[in-house]
Symmetry: C2
Subunit: 201 residues, 2 copies
């Protein structure tokens, strides 16, 4: 007697859910059962949201963050200080800095960080887009606000070297943020302080 497999659409759903970061086969199975049995409405919502996000979101041509327009609202805003460019790893980090109310310049979102051990090199992060951004719309200063993790520090060091070679003023947010932690987990006051206390790179 051979074990009969789950029906194909169920297997397909379980398999697809393992594409989510941190979700293994067992969690994916529970998620699939839950959606199909108790929350078909939620399943429909995820389906439609994926549709909209995949079709309607692009990367802002200036800051590289997700946007519905070619140039996002922050990059377009005349009320921001266009001479300052703050480089962060993710859109979450951008949100955290905005919430600190300590910064009024523009951003560049790397959408990742250098992680040589995982094979994430300068090609993957696409630093050239950042350099192009800085040449097209010159700024007075680039503030490196990558996380104070090993990868974030490597990224900041790499970017600092490359930008300074181009005679661009570079600073690093102050190490007021606890070493080894990530921006997302730090209170807004500390972030504001760290931005203010930035050192010339």
């Amino acid at each position: 007697m051979v074990a009969l497999p789950d029906p194909e659409p169920l297997n397909e759903l379980i398999e697809s859910l393992t594409k989510l970061p941190g979700v293994g086969k067992r969690s994916a199975r529970r998620m699939a059962y839950h959606l199909l049995q108790y929350d078909r409405e939620g399943a429909k919502q995820i389906h439609d949201a994926l549709d909209h996000a995949l079709n309607d979101l692009v990367h802002c041509k200036m800051c590289n963050s997700f946007s519905q327009e070619e140039i996002c609202a922050i990059c377009q805003s005349p009320r921001r200080d266009h001479s300052l460019l703050c480089v962060v790893e993710t859109p979450s980090d951008l949100n955290m800095i905005e919430a600190s109310h300590g910064y009024h310049g523009l951003y560049y979102v790397l959408m990742g960080k250098l992680s040589p051990l995982d094979g994430v090199g300068a090609q993957t992060i696409n630093f050239e887009r950042l350099l192009k951004r800085v040449f097209e719309y010159p700024v007075k200063e680039v503030i490196l606000a990558t996380n104070f993790t090993a990868e974030g520090e490597t990224t900041a060091h790499y970017l600092g070297t490359v930008l300074k070679e181009q005679n661009i003023k570079v600073s690093r947010i102050a190490r007021g943020i606890p070493s080894g932690s990530e921006l997302e987990y730090v209170d807004a006051g500390t972030i504001a302080w760290a931005l203010n206390d930035r050192r010339s790179g």
Copy 2:
């Protein structure tokens, strides 16, 4: 300066992913960024799989498990012992019992368990469908293979009482399965032994 929100399709995606069991706002955000930035192909797969699963899967009319046909392959099979009915909580439990190769009868999948503290009562679990199943296609014995957790035991006790009132022979799989654990986490040999050593209820 007011913090600018994420673009709407991104918010929508993050919000929808919190519908997944065990996924909070922060995990949902990480999942959304990951899919949009690094795995759009995976996002497409989830989208399509949800489409297929929502449209193509129904509950088997006999065993209540997910199926592409009105009556699933197990319930249709002439090689199974149609006089035995094993009641389990989820399709995962059914798969685990199949993998033990210790059982050749049919199944009924409750798709849940009684959990009075969480407000999950006999209405939610729809025990009437199980009773109807047993009256329409009479069996010699119903084997209760719900988990040996508080909820599984409550469910087994409730079902045992109801079925015995209808003069149906009821048994409970042997408590060879470690108390407090769930079928999914037990090795196939123990499951086979527990099925074999079942006690008359």
